[in-house]
Symmetry: C3
Subunit: 376 residues, 3 copies
Amino acid sequence: MAMSRIIRKQTGNFLEDFRPGQIFRHKGGKTITEGLFTTFTEFAMTANPLAKNARYARAYGFEGLVVPPGLAMLVAFSQTVEDVSENARTNREYVDMRFGAPIYVGDTLEVETKVLSVVPHRKDPNLGIVHVQSTARKNVGARDEAVVMTWQRKVDVFKRDPAAELHPGEAAPDAIACELWLPRYDPSVDYKSMAHLSSPDSYFEDFEPGTRIEHSRGRTMTSEHIHLTAVLDNTSQVHCNQFMIDQDPDRYVGGQLIVFGGIPFTLCLGLSSPDVGDNALGDIAYPTGRHTAPLFAGDTVFAATEIRAVQDFPGRPDLGIVEATLYGHKFERAPQASRSEPTASEDQQVAPAGWKKVAIFELERRIAMKRRSHYA
Amino acid sequence: MAMSRIIRKQTGNFLEDFRPGQIFRHKGGKTITEGLFTTFTEFAMTANPLAKNARYARAYGFEGLVVPPGLAMLVAFSQTVEDVSENARTNREYVDMRFGAPIYVGDTLEVETKVLSVVPHRKDPNLGIVHVQSTARKNVGARDEAVVMTWQRKVDVFKRDPAAELHPGEAAPDAIACELWLPRYDPSVDYKSMAHLSSPDSYFEDFEPGTRIEHSRGRTMTSEHIHLTAVLDNTSQVHCNQFMIDQDPDRYVGGQLIVFGGIPFTLCLGLSSPDVGDNALGDIAYPTGRHTAPLFAGDTVFAATEIRAVQDFPGRPDLGIVEATLYGHKFERAPQASRSEPTASEDQQVAPAGWKKVAIFELERRIAMKRRSHYA
Amino acid sequence: MAMSRIIRKQTGNFLEDFRPGQIFRHKGGKTITEGLFTTFTEFAMTANPLAKNARYARAYGFEGLVVPPGLAMLVAFSQTVEDVSENARTNREYVDMRFGAPIYVGDTLEVETKVLSVVPHRKDPNLGIVHVQSTARKNVGARDEAVVMTWQRKVDVFKRDPAAELHPGEAAPDAIACELWLPRYDPSVDYKSMAHLSSPDSYFEDFEPGTRIEHSRGRTMTSEHIHLTAVLDNTSQVHCNQFMIDQDPDRYVGGQLIVFGGIPFTLCLGLSSPDVGDNALGDIAYPTGRHTAPLFAGDTVFAATEIRAVQDFPGRPDLGIVEATLYGHKFERAPQASRSEPTASEDQQVAPAGWKKVAIFELERRIAMKRRSHYA
């Protein structure tokens, strides 16, 4: 049978397609399975027992294993990719990312996005910045429907037609009620009997503003990222279509498949977890964040955390709030003779001779942290 | 202790071992876990919300997330490999593959195979074609025992002894009752409120015979295929034993580990899913299918679908039947100067200069498709 | 904000930190999910239906899919890495590994370790041998709390300071009640109707002391090991930090990332499974075991089993005990001219010309094996 008509659908939107005020109700939705849990909580070395040890999570007042913020972000963010960033060059910035209701195995997430503005790039006529606000809800229509996460992001999107006009104007972000749900402190629970399950030196009392914690471990990213990105339904071709890259390597960052930004986001959270996240009852918000360099298969990711402030948690004498900035970095081979001073190889925060340190990520965090006085 | 006896068991059968009429009740069986679900539904970019969004699947009248046809095929087919194709060169052809009862997390599949015929290869005295019929049942012995899938295949199997006689004759395939179970259309369900979760342009009304849909996305296969194949219990050594290949590369297709055919099968279904599968209530049957070239790690898979016919679904005014052919292809570096005409790099269906397009797979599909009139 | 203080925490203990009698209650704990089950039971080609087929497992008297010994070991052992072997060079020896209560999806494992002795290395002042005893319990504090596994191991740990004194003395291992739980033989169950689901030639009656079974299949390990190790919470940097290796390759075994020993441990069990493990009702104990060479990405693993003794199972006429030794090996390219005699390439137990066979693992096993007389 001769085919009389050929269809090749456009996937995703280009810069001129976005209108301020426009709403995307994203396709799909995603139920959190034990498979997703294993694959993404643990590949990133998350250490908080709330995400690993169901008897601990239940004793703390949760219904079961709690989806950690990195997995929540990976799933919710990925739902927005087809509509918002399938034709993006890079993700510029995260703004006002907040967490709400806890997410458990079996919950289904669905996400909506509102376009706030579309601004042309100053130098590159092929690009512009799309500013959006997205909100993820769980179990829509059910009794336990709840907002689990909301965030804004700014993303560099390609134009389809360099000469196209952009939709002008600005829409105000919606006021989304999204406050971190926390189990109450229950004096009848023997929290201390479980204190050995988390780090002894990462309670609220241990964090001092002005401290930089250089996390000891590194993790090499492999071509696993292609599989991981597919499992997240992230449809952007720059993560998984090697043939497309091979056709025109100069067009793509680094001339190779780039790792989806959610992966270093989650990995840096994981690497910091034994020092900063083990005794968190939850992450309240990430006021800002950004990727500062791309990650590729073969790179090894490291992380550090700077403690900026500590404060009481209103109404919760058992908790405090830690304000911190999480940094991610990797090392690249430096041009010959760019450094001559050898450095200790065991310090994985400083570039040794022949290498340069490349900052890849930063994220402001507000963390609800347990006090030793109440829990250990 | 000196060992007085060495045993090296033969695994799988050789050509001369098969007898028409012979029945294999395959070992193992496999319970569908949330782990299998995550790994295989999602790596292939399946977009149908029935397989991703439990609240949607339940609203449609299923018990929960529905195993999509690609995962059903991967699990059921793999159960037959040890007995039927562990010593095969390639899988030639799929015939009359039909789907029955829906499969959910927690269901256990067990598979039987009947040998229909054994025919010597015309040119190669070391090979012959084994024609089998396999049937997968779920929850054998329980109240909800049901046939979930049945299919025939023809496979090129090696002889152990080139001089051996083959078992002659022919056995008729069994008449297996295996009709796609579909939830009833329930006018009290607000299907339209969920219509944003699937593609707006892939309802029955959208398919026109004579149309070729060239699916936009590609997916690069990595060495992940070795792990994936093991997780499926597929025991064929040509997928996972690099040492065996290294001993005698000329003996094996391409001189390297070959990707298990179920993987491009599922991947092509997934790549076509946003355009063709999103609003399917189920795949009724795959009348024929075949692999036309091998897939290797590093290849990028693309897909296209040709719409051959559309028809009413008897007794179901809310549905129609789409008859289509799914094609998979990849590109290989072409010998120097074999092509001189450059082509647009954004068209991933046409080989650019220096490359040739290689058809890898084709599959006839009959799909039970929702009508927009009833669901959106 | 200028950071006034830099913290870089030591992770894990060094040789001089260990004291005989010291107890580690390891952090984290780990709930067995269906994701872990899929990833680790099946990647290793485990063939026992108890771990794959829930209807079979329930018919045999288990509550559902049973965690096979390889997965139990991977999870329990990994919990001890941060405290015991994060700064280890290699794991020397497993001693008196015993299994107790069955582990199901949903069970949470927590592990404790007692230090038995710390002995300096005879030749290398930077190293010493730490001898520990570890015990894994499930569902601590609940009605079904139970010991699921206990084992000793000896591990070569680095000193932080080559001049440091070691803690002398010796602590006796605790007497840990840990006996394999087995479902009773129930004459009302139609075991024979399920006999086709396991190998017909691997019942107790089939094992003859003095037999060496050379398992037919091999499995190539890929860079997947980095992901697998992270999912297990194994924090040792020699498995996942390529940058660290690149700084000083000479310091690390083979100058490359080494595969976590639990992976060949499990993989050898899996490769032997169709011949030795299919009709096991459980593994009773592994009296001794050791890694004899490292495994790297790209290596193909093979296995063999020697049957050493068979004996009755006291009080269980339906079972017998098989005593066996499991061996793992791989092949390495041999230096030119080291071998001149070509050998059959189909025998994957003997090195062909140009290769040498390298023993990588051995493990004594005591297996509770079903008798054909009662089950088939």
